[in-house]
């Protein structure tokens, strides 16, 4: 039977309340401080290194994000590591927390569908994440202006904006994972552990798992006549199941303009190419388009699964 009334009734109210909670909560402050301090430290360390070789690259601001300076990893490596943690911290108790506080039935007894509650909370989480990342992005550019004494050029701004969008989508995937577990598990601690488990799998163990599985499917990496292409393709497909891989590939192509391909490259493909010459920003965006849409699609699919599970749940709290 078809329900009457918009499923979006109340989304704005839920979004406003939840965004205010996320942005003013102690948990968010601690996490944001952690991300800001580490990322700014990485950017500052990169600035010190870049100042010594300021005339060598036309993309100084991009190097600010990609250059690692011992003992700190690069800005993008830190973001890739910390953003999932922030997203999980925002979302792991989104729904089960309502069950635990016994507020769910009271809220859903108001004239809204449960769709609105889930979507409003998710959008609020995404908004909090976006505000945090945008601040960090602006702060990094400000630091660059201050210490390098040069403004970023248009191409750098376009590439960095694309990277910001990709980072939000990457955070969105992990937020959706956290939401899914917050719907599936009634105990917030269990949901947090499960989400962290998935994060650990993709951050640490996936690079160990994929060669093994690829070998099982397509044979060993090296064939009699050289590299086994079937193996390389299979390993790449498996690698790209991980949002971390998709995000790393986007960062590589957008922030290192000389990147011409992602994955195995045949000799025939590089004939006539000027190696080391930067690609135009539009070409880099075309290169990462599948990865970017992949991240957005993963976010939507995982959220859709959470939505279906939530729709089927009994509301008794």
């Amino acid at each position: 039977m078809r329900r009457r009334g918009s499923p979006f009734t109340g989304v704005g109210v839920v979004l406003a309340k939840e965004a205010a909670d996320y942005l003013s909560g102690a948990r968010m402050w601690v996490l944001e401080a952690l991300v800001f301090l580490t990322a700014i430290a990485a950017a500052y360390a990169a600035i010190l290194s870049i100042r010594a070789s300021i005339g060598e690259s036309p993309f100084l601001f991009l190097r600010l994000l990609t250059m690692a300076q011992d003992p700190l990893p690069s800005f993008i490596a830190l973001l890739g590591f910390l953003i999932p943690l922030v997203a999980i911290a925002i979302g792991f108790d989104a729904i089960n927390g309502e069950f635990g506080r016994r507020t769910l039935s009271r809220i859903l007894a108001q004239p809204i569908y449960r769709d609105a509650l889930l979507l409003g909370k998710f959008l609020a989480g995404l908004l909090a994440l976006t505000i945090g990342l945008l601040s960090l992005w602006l702060l990094t550019i400000g630091l660059g202006l201050l210490f390098l004494g040069l403004p970023p050029n248009t191409e750098e701004m376009v590439r960095m904006a694309g990277f910001l969008v990709a980072t939000i989508a990457y955070g969105g995937v992990w937020l959706a994972v956290a939401f899914l577990f917050s719907v599936v598990f009634r105990a917030p601690a269990t949901a947090a552990l499960a989400a962290l488990g998935v994060w650990l799998l993709f951050s640490l163990f996936w690079s160990v798992v994929t060669p093994l599985v690829a070998t099982l499917i397509a044979g060993p990496p090296e064939g009699i006549f050289g590299p086994n292409l079937a193996y390389l393709h299979t390993a790449q497909i498996l690698d790209r199941i991980s949002p971390n891989t998709l995000y790393a590939e986007i960062a590589l192509a957008l922030l290192q303009p000389a990147t011409r391909a992602l994955g195995p490259v045949l000799y025939s493909q590089v004939q006539g190419a000027l190696l080391g010459a930067p690609l135009p920003a539009t070409q880099s965006f075309i290169l990462v388009w599948p990865q970017l849409t992949g991240l957005v699609a993963a976010m939507i699919v995982i959220f859709a699964v959470a939505y279906v599970v939530f729709q089927r749940q009994e509301i008794r709290a």
Partner: protein, 312 residues
């Protein structure tokens, strides 16, 4: 029951696999009535309430609340119904005002309406000065009152209260029951689920007794007493003397005699036997008093479930 039915359930059923949580329930509640739903834990009361609110989909049957189908028009139903769940929860970090303003906005109230209604509702539930306090500092009783304030703020035509006094002390309970009577005085229809039979009896016009997902009995307490206690009349006899119980039981038409105290007996009769009882006792016993007794819902409930257990 009044002529206008505002809550109607017809064959309402909720099945989990092969288990029936609610089994073909039929229920009518008239406008302005207070109807109590009773029954042991797991008898289907809360599931029925959730189906009436559109929060759980029935497996079979249909319901109509305030003229709308909760399955098809849940938003319209929820606009007209105020719901107070058992042990109501709030956002502890927010103030009472912020908590109620949130649900007020979800209910579609404007900022002005929220401001106007908030103070009035808090005053009605006896919490006039706690609007700015964080709910974390509230006792259970205060939370329950705040939950009722939320219902009042919505100004619903129907209030569904699920075990609202379960966690309250006796004094707060009496105050809360007064507030429920206040809802009726406002013309609000109330569906009240409770385990406290004396409370249900004191505020409800009619009751429905749930057992194993079905409504086993429904009607006024007097009607239920007629059906369950066997006799149509319950008479309290106050008299002094030996073997009083046997004497009373020997009177034709007496179904049951129950000693309530050293000189007080409750007699279930098939008809009004006060003259016969007086005639039989007067010569040899000190008859101190004889009067109709208000049938007790507690007695009805206990007897019904005793008999149901024996039958099983």
């Amino acid at each position: 029951m009044t002529e206008e039915v505002v809550i109607r359930a017809e064959g309402l059923t909720k099945r989990y696999g092969t288990t029936f949580a609610v089994d073909h329930v039929d229920l009518d509640v008239g406008a302005g009535e207070i109807v109590g739903i009773l029954g042991p834990n797991g008898s289907g009361k809360t599931t029925t309430i959730l189906m009436l609110l559109g929060l759980t989909e029935p497996s079979e049957g249909r319901a109509e609340v305030a003229g709308f189908d909760p399955l098809r028009d849940p938003l319209e139903v929820k606009r007209r119904v105020g719901y107070l769940p058992d042990s109501v929860g709030f956002y502890d970090g927010l103030s009472a005002r912020d908590n109620l303003a949130y649900t007020g906005r979800l209910a579609g109230l404007s900022r002005r309406e929220i401001d106007e209604r908030f103070a009035e509702s808090l005053a009605r539930v006896g919490l006039p000065d706690v609007g700015r306090d964080r709910v974390a500092t509230f006792s259970r009783g205060m939370r329950q009152r705040l939950g009722l304030a939320e219902v009042l703020m919505k100004r619903p035509s129907i209030a569904i209260l699920d075990e609202p006094t379960a966690t309250l002390d006796p004094h707060s309970t009496q105050e809360f029951l007064g507030m429920i009577r206040g809802l009726k005085a406002d013309g609000t229809t109330v569906l009240l689920s409770s385990h406290h039979l004396d409370q249900v009896q004191s505020v409800c016009d009619r009751v429905a007794l749930f057992n194993h997902g079905r409504i086993a009995l429904s009607g006024s307490v007097t009607q239920l007493a007629h059906r369950v206690l066997g006799g149509g009349y319950v008479i309290d006899v106050e008299a002094r003397g030996l073997a009083m119980g046997d004497q009373l039981l020997a009177i034709p038409g007496v179904v049951r005699v129950q000693g309530l105290g050293p000189e007080l007996y409750r007699v279930d009769c098939e008809r009004d036997l006060r003259p016969e009882i007086a005639r039989r006792l007067a010569p040899s016993f000190d008859l101190l008093g004889i009067r109709f007794a208000e049938p007790s819902l507690n007695e009805v409930y206990t007897r019904y479930f005793d008999e149901a257990r024996h039958a099983a």
